[in-house]
């Protein structure tokens, strides 16, 4: 890890006092999915150890100080799909403090913004009544359709050729909810499923701010522009998320995002999970088709009957496994998983909280999006196809220190911006590209929050390439692998490892790279652990 990555989160059990007992399960990677899987396994009586390479757990939610007194809460800056079962399992909201649902401000250059409230724009300020009706109709349609897909997201993907009773009931349930809505809905679902978000937005909406927003949300973290075929899937995915029981809603936990990683870790520790940080797993030990243990950067070997890899699938198989233990066809398909991130993250240390023109002071706690129109998002994406960054990027902004004042010295503030598109493999390299891209992002922000650049104390721009090294995240990809039609469900990450089990018996996958995909949901970890428990009762 680099020096810019000291642990923000505290607890990590001392490796010194560690003896080598036997474990039932070894979890590689202390991201939120690894911790979720570990917790469920431990709650079911398994002896579990989590091995995390960084000095603290949390994965992409791992915070760091980027300037004396100024901290980033990590890469993820908002919660919009934390699964309720995961929250219950980890007793994440047992303290009874409910976080408030946050608005999304679709920023407009003229300062007249559209503000979506409730669960993904149940009400919207700043738009015409006619547009509100149109948005509500689109929202209803998409939420209904996402609801059908959601049935498949909360369970292990079916195995082709081995469809079981519960799979049938999911299919039947999905079919039933379509039938009860009439033939029209079924047709519409099939018509829209693989459409691009731009065409759907154009079909319903006329307000560019709203169109820009849905175009942005559909493509965030995915290598697609809004006019790319199938780009609607990203928006469906967003709408399969719920927060506090509201579809499409988002929040920042009480005390800020920085409280979330420790909450996952505490839940694991409370369930009896042993957690070791600062140890890299360097090898998965396997022989003739069975994985039996791991080798650590310290040279130690730990053995267990179940190895749960909650890190990127390509890292799991291509870096940790001896490819000789895997089939050529399998290695070939894992190598072909597309996983090059194109979201950059900018953390700003500010002298004072910024003011975005036309945004109420309360709404500054929400999510601010700069995506003027569909064309803006598409134009921002185009250069990424050719290995270049956007010269007019689209942005998602939060002000983390508003929820967690500890992140900045008193009076100061932090700003977190996710900037697209910033391809992992920048033509010409990021060394020269970074200052240029950062300057462009700052200019963009300045346009919406005049005076902001003058208050910048320090900045830290992380490209996908930086995330790869600093977060052990191959490709710096949001989802640990593109979330596109060909890498979903029974093909996530690849068919032969789609159901958490892998061709190596005893080795399981549990990261965002597995079904259903990325975001702070805990679902891959939860479903993986459930599968392990069902296979090894």
């Amino acid at each position: 890890m680099t020096s810019s990555d000291p642990a923000r989160t505290s607890a990590s059990t001392s490796p010194a006092s560690f003896e080598a007992p036997n474990f039932d399960a070894i979890v590689i990677g202390g991201g939120h999915n690894g911790l979720t899987a570990a917790t469920l396994l431990a709650q079911n009586g398994r002896k579990v150890i989590v091995l995390e390479a960084a000095e603290s757990t949390g994965g992409a939610m791992r915070g760091f100080e980027f300037h004396p007194g100024y901290c980033s809460a990590g890469l993820a800056h908002i919660v919009n799909r934390l699964d309720p079962d995961v929250a219950k399992l980890l007793k994440l909201d047992s303290k009874g403090r409910r976080a408030e649902t946050l608005p999304t401000v679709a920023l407009s250059p003229d300062g007249k913004h559209a503000v979506l409230r409730g669960g993904y724009g149940e009400t919207i300020d700043g738009i015409s009544q006619a547009e509100m009706k149109a948005f509500a109709a689109m929202r209803k349609k998409l939420v209904f359709q996402a609801g059908i897909l959601k049935r498949f997201l909360k369970r292990r993907p079916p195995e082709i050729g081995k469809v079981g009773m519960s799979d049938l009931s999911t299919f039947a349930g999905a079919g039933f909810s379509l039938i009860t809505k009439g033939r029209e809905e079924g047709r519409d679902f099939l018509r829209m499923l693989l459409m691009n978000v731009a065409d759907v937005a154009d079909e319903y909406l006329s307000d560019d701010r709203l169109k820009g927003l849905v175009a942005f949300d559909a493509t965030l973290g995915i290598h697609l522009g809004p006019r790319s075929p199938t780009s609607l899937l990203g928006l469906y995915y967003r709408l399969t998320g719920e927060t506090d029981g509201a579809t499409g809603a988002q929040h920042v936990p009480q005390g800020g995002m920085a409280t979330l990683a420790p909450a996952f870790e505490n839940a694991a520790a409370a369930a009896g999970v042993t957690i070791r940080t600062g140890v890299h797993v360097t090898r998965i030990v396997a022989d003739r088709g069975a994985a039996t243990g791991v080798i650590l950067s310290t040279g130690e070997q730990l053995n267990a009957s179940a190895i749960v890899s909650a890190i990127h699938p390509q890292a799991t198989f291509l870096s940790l496994c001896d490819t000789a233990e895997l089939g050529t066809g399998f290695v070939r398909s894992i190598s072909n998983v597309r996983s090059k991130g194109n979201v950059a993250k900018l953390d700003l240390a500010l002298e004072r909280p910024p003011t975005f023109t036309g945004v109420s002071s309360a709404d500054h706690r929400g999510r601010l999006v700069i995506a003027r129109s569909i064309a803006h998002v598409e134009d921002a994406f185009n250069p990424a196809k050719y290995g270049e960054f956007s010269t007019d990027p689209v942005l998602e902004i939060t002000l983390p220190s508003l929820a967690n004042p500890d992140l900045a010295p008193s009076g100061g503030a932090t700003l977190s911006a996710l900037a697209e598109f910033a391809p992992y493999d920048l033509k010409g390299g990021w060394e020269s590209g970074k200052p240029a891209f950062e300057a462009i992002i700052l200019e963009t922000l300045e346009r919406y929050a005049p005076g902001l650049s003058k208050s910048v104390v320090a900045s830290n721009l992380m490209t996908p390439a930086d995330m790869e090294t600093q977060y052990n995240l191959p490709g710096g990809h949001w989802h640990h692998g593109e979330l596109q039609a060909d890498q979903l469900l029974i093909n996530r990450p690849v068919n032969a490892a789609a159901g958490y089990a892998t061709p190596l018996s005893g080795l399981y996958l549990a990261s965002a790279g597995s079904h259903p995909g990325g975001g702070i949901s805990g679902l891959p970890g939860l479903l993986a652990a459930r599968h392990i428990l069902s296979e090894r009762p």
């Binding site: 022989d287 000789a324 233990e325 066809g329």
Partner: protein, 406 residues
Amino acid sequence: MMLEMNTRRALQGHIATPRFETPFHPRIAAISETSDWYTWAGYKAPHSVFDEELEYFAIRSTAALFDISPMVKYRIAGPDAERYLNRLTVRNVAKLSTGRVHYTAWCDDHGHVLDDGTLFRLSADTFRLCCQERHLPWLLDSAIGFDVGIEEETMQIAGLALQGPTSFAVLSNAGFDCIERLKPFQLADFPHEDGSVTISRTGFTGDLGYELFVPAEAALSLWDRLWTAGQLHGIRAIGYAALNRARIEAGFIVANADFMTAETALRADRARMPDEIGLEWLVDTEKPNFNGRKAILEARRNQTLKHVLVGLEIEGNIPADGAIIYHRKKHEAGLVSAAIWSPLAKRNIAIASLTRPYGTRLTEDLWVEIYALRELQYQKMMKRARIVPRPFIKLDRRAAAPPGLF
């Protein structure tokens, strides 16, 4: 943009040469009496040279020279070459010592055979893999994670099979000193011109015989050297038809003739596991992991193997090529993929694929349905077939060490 006519012609030279010619082509073309060519892996190769029948007898009674240059050849070299090949192929490469050759096969992840072929260990970490089909993408993808280089050398290396009782005498006479030391499946380099030729005591005939590999540039001089030395030993150039008879007698199978390779089969149920084409003896389940291992073991455990390849002896003397096999003359049980009247065994023999349990549990009461076309009328016959071990012939001279001078 329209190209000038001449430029276009020049770019389309391949139209005028639809098939490659092998490095030996000038010699074979010069002596060919039948002008009977077929296409072998994109090369023009002789089906016969002067007389199919007599060519077969050259294999069995004197010496036959067969051009194997079209055989696909890969050079696999590097510190991980052995480990790489052990993962790629089903047989244990750690047991293959330098200077030896073994017959092997390789499978995809599902345990379906991609091809069979011969693996030559030229040095501790240099190998040559010879086979029927092209596999470069598969071989390269198999190299992910290994320190090994893979190069196709089909074009660069010319190959000749010299087979038959007098083949050793021909080589001796041609001045390949110490050739008598080569035991079956052994190889060595011998000086030729200013370079060398790799000679192995291998072949596809079940007879005494050798295979010779040289850089393409040295092909013609090697041919001439053998041809001259072989004059008194009855050397003949032969085509595939004759070789095919010999290989059937020897019980060898041919990819995409006796089984479909996994990558060429269009229909999902045509792919075959080693155990379904008589290659179970190659599979070493004790060695480290290899492609298809899990699937093969699972199929064995769950008894889901669907086919079995057998040798048949069929009553009468009419070759049953392509015939359907019946159990109790009623239930379809399989198909004959190769058949001849064997002059050496004096039996009507065949290689056949049966659908289990025929050939495994049900081995009696098998019949083949032969249609013999006689002056524009089919005569349909049901002939009794008996499962017999392969090879159909066994020649002591094949393995004799030192080999005999005939």
